[in-house]
Symmetry: C2
Subunit: 297 residues, 2 copies
DNA sequence: GCGTGTCCATAAGGAAATCTTATCCACGAA
DNA sequence: TTCGTGGATAAGATTTCCTTATGGACACGC
């Protein structure tokens, strides 16, 4: 018996849908259909009732579901145990996600260096918005998530990863460069923003609100999507923007951008590591976390 | 993960040999070799040390062995449980062995009738000498064995199946037909025997020994291998033979053979059902046993 | 009633995995 | 040195698995 068939079966039972199970498993719907059919044939009994609006497990299906979960848990435990005791190099897959902010800051470099040190490790990073990353971590599709906002989620735990300071970036030689400006000065300047939903934008909104200011009180002329777009626009002289200091460190260093501060505005965010509650971390993931924490500190 | 790979691995660990594991699993040695290699690749660690005279599990291999046994036991339990609760027809494989005596008597008819009643059941019968059948039951290659001698074996339990009376068969019209003859009369007659090792021969030797007679004291002219050969020879008038009454019931009924008895000789044997100690019987096997017991009584 | 969308089953074809046969290599025993 | 045993590996065949495309059933909205 192939445990992949059991995993497919469990996904269908949990989602009550072949299509959604397929999506979760990263295969097509017919593949799941065929897997379940092979399983039903092998066990000689019908496991799912497809006659209704939703797929429902039969009584035999429920029994199998419980046993299958035990088998899959045992398999995971076995594989983890063996990976934990493996002599020599780390090997295996590191499957993680990051929201766009952290993904654009340090995650690629961290992953690249980690993979170079452990050449048998394969790294799979997906970049999505924070909400999607957290959902996929909860669904156990991703082992780790690196996000800039710690949303509350019952099935996900967050641990601090690193702090990210938000600065006001302006073109080199700009009147703001190297200074601390007042809010009144900021009101007279073209402000470029990231799209709604971007972590940095939220952080800035929160900090401004603490000063009794709303974004619409400022001269927001451009809303340019994500971090890379706004960085380029500022570099080209179209305005100023709030942005992660880490994300523009090299631009600051070689003078393509300059840094300013806003009087009374303290905008710092914590980047967190998300993982599914109760999930045993693989040795690969554990090593990466240690490695990464050492590097960002 | 495919539990067949785990089963192959466990067989190698137990047998300390790829070739013997292959034989036990009914595949070739390279198949086992490839399976183990796939498993080692998947788990990223060496599981077996092949450098010595015998294959030895590594430390990781021992850990896997223990976990794999748990997984395989869980799988078997799951499959049995589902088979036990299956609605509708019996389905699955019935894998059994019989020694030559019982195999020639009633087993084919029983299996044929059982299979006709349960068309989704596949029956696999192997016929060997008693010793081999019992060994293969102990090794769990056969779920059931039907044998005429209850050898002691630590890993096998025997339960009574049916009684088989041994008679003296002679050609129709023979002076012995329908009578009880003395040992002296028997000494003057050509006696045809089965080969050494045949169950009936052993039973007869034991019964004669209880009368103080040895086979070599009788006029053994022909030793003709197994049951079918001796039956034919007697039918053709070459002599008389000791044989299972059940095995020649139809010949007795239509007059192709006649039955006699030997004064003071009581030769009956018990046919037993053998199964591996502690092994949970599948629903198919359980049904067959009930069916068969009903038929032979 | 018709059109549209969703979902599962199935057919056909391609890819991957598994297995067998044949052969090679290493090792031990005679 | 020769022979036998046992595991690894190559090449080819077979089986299994998966994807793409499609059909049928059903629900919903117009």
């Amino acid at each position: 018996m192939d445990t992949r068939q059991l995993a497919a079966f469990c996904a269908v039972v949990e989602r009550r849908s072949f299509s959604q199970a397929a999506e979760r498993l990263g295969v097509t719907q017919p593949a799941v259909s065929l897997q379940i059919r092979a399983l039903e044939k092998r066990l000689g009994t019908q496991l799912l009732d497809r006659s209704g609006r939703r797929v429902e497990p039969t009584e035999a299906g429920l029994r199998l579901y419980r046993g299958a979960q035990r088998m899959l848990a045992l398999e995971n435990q076995l594989v983890s145990e063996l990976a934990a005791t493996a002599e020599g190099e780390l090997a295996g897959d590191l499957v993680l996600g990051a929201s766009t902010g952290p993904a654009a800051i340090v995650v690629p470099v961290l992953l690249g260096e980690f993979q170079r040190e452990h050449s048998d490790v394969r790294v799979f990073l997906t970049v999505s918005d924070t909400h999607t990353v957290i959902e996929r971590v909860a669904d156990r599709e991703l082992e780790l998530g690196i996000v800039g906002a710690s949303r509350r989620h019952r099935g996900v735990r967050f641990e601090p990863f690193f702090s990210d300071q938000v600065i006001l970036a302006c073109p080199p030689g700009h009147p703001f460069a190297g200074r601390t400006v007042t809010l009144d000065e900021l009101r007279e300047e073209t402000l470029i923003l990231m799209q709604e939903g971007a972590g940095v934008r939220q952080i800035v909104e929160d900090a401004l609100r603490r000063l009794g200011v709303r974004l619409r009180d400022l001269d927001v002329r451009l809303e340019l999507g994500l971090q890379e777009s706004v960085r380029r626009a500022v570099e080209a002289g179209f305005g100023v923007t709030f942005i992660s200091r880490t994300a523009v460190e090299s631009e600051l260093a070689d003078g393509r951008l300059a840094e300013a501060r806003v009087e009374g505005l303290d905008a710092t965010r914590e980047i967190s590591l998300a993982s599914a509650v109760g999930r045993t971390r693989t040795r690969v993931a554990e090593s990466f976390v240690e490695f990464a924490k050492e590097r960002v500190s």
